[in-house]
Symmetry: C2
Subunit: 227 residues, 2 copies
């Protein structure tokens, strides 16, 4: 495939539905995709197994999981056992927010992109049906792209890095439809913040609620396996 050497992208793949759709979109745009997952000590380790399945199913040329121990920092319901995952919606940024998570994951993606000679980073952040995390907004993505072009050899030498977030302005229902269009098998994705070891979802956390609502709004059967 001629695109192999000329058009590479690093795609953040978490194992959830949004990043699966993002990977499918990057592939459809003709990118040779290198899937990156970050094991940051999240509760829901089964999402990393889902990430491997998604990367394989959607033709990533390589799937790398980099460890960063954010449990040593804590401060989130996802990385500190002493903070519970909220099961009723509340005001403000929820306890599942992981400080600087997307900045850290994009930074590692940026490093790998530079080694690969990739100029595009893809991530599945969304600022419509989302949990209000600050690092999911368009202005964050724009600021990271600007930083990426100052931080790297490729930025300094003028080729330019791009940070692509193709889902950022879509509703969850639109993401479901976009995934269907690209043949994403949502049954292999895990969104739940406290999925069990086999990837069964709780059905009560914010991630579960947003996902279920998205399928309902899209009129698509929800393949999520609940426990």
């Amino acid at each position: 495939m001629s695109s192999e050497s000329t058009k590479r992208a690093v795609v953040l793949v978490s194992g959830g539905m949004d990043s699966a759709v993002t990977l499918a979109i990057a592939r459809a745009q003709g990118f040779s995709c290198y899937a990156l997952s970050v094991a940051y000590g999240q509760r829901h380790a089964s999402e990393l197994q889902a990430a491997a399945r998604v990367a394989r199913a959607h033709g990533a040329l390589e799937h790398k999981t980099v460890d960063v121990d954010l449990r040593s920092i804590g401060g989130s319901a996802l990385t500190a056992d002493t903070i519970a995952v909220p099961e009723t919606p509340g005001a403000g940024i929820p306890a599942t927010y992981v400080p600087a998570r997307n900045t850290i994951m994009l930074s590692i993606a940026l490093g790998w992109a530079e080694v690969l000679g990739a100029r595009d980073l893809f991530c599945g952040v969304n600022a419509v049906d989302y949990s209000g995390y600050p690092d999911c907004r368009p202005e964050f993505i724009e600021a990271f792209e600007r930083l990426a072009n100052l931080a790297t050899k490729v930025g300094v030498e003028g080729a330019g890095m791009r940070v692509q977030a193709p889902l950022i302005r879509l509703s969850k229902a639109e993401i479901v439809r976009e995934g269907q269009r690209h043949g994403v098998d949502f049954a292999m994705t895990v969104s739940c913040y406290q999925a069990d070891a086999d990837g069964h979802a709780c059905g009560r956390c914010d991630a579960c609620r947003l996902r279920a609502q998205g399928f309902a709004d899209a009129g698509v059967v929800d393949p999520t396996r609940y426990r």
Copy 2:
């Protein structure tokens, strides 16, 4: 000390001389300092031992080392055994440049700062007597600060994060003098890219050359232990 709870800073401490001086400056400004080192798979692991010594000597309240395996990405003489550390100066960005290293380290510092309620990040980057790394320049630091304020709860809620790089416009000789003024014991720091397990320097790499020239220019006896 009344400043304990009100004025916290996360200080990146590598074990080299610049970050030791930076920590001393942050302490002199009245910050309660939380020292952060990142074990990214660097050749010169003895610098991490030096970081622990420096953090202790300069009154950091805590010293945390976070692991991020940048060897799995490679692409630098510091993280790939197949790339040699250059021992003669060359043109352009040298092989010791680690893709996205400072972005990754500042991102982790940002996450810890948010958990601690710290609003200041300090790092010892320098853009005068340096190796030409893109992520050591003032425009990179400014872009990271901007990103930090979009990426975090504290940024969104308006309190504001600051990224301080007090050495960025100093010559190496000025850094040596600044360190002397703040009582930094340079003998406990390790700058060499290929120091041995006991912290003995090679005297030939870029880091060694810049350091030795700094002491010479400052007219200060160089306490570096060479092998």
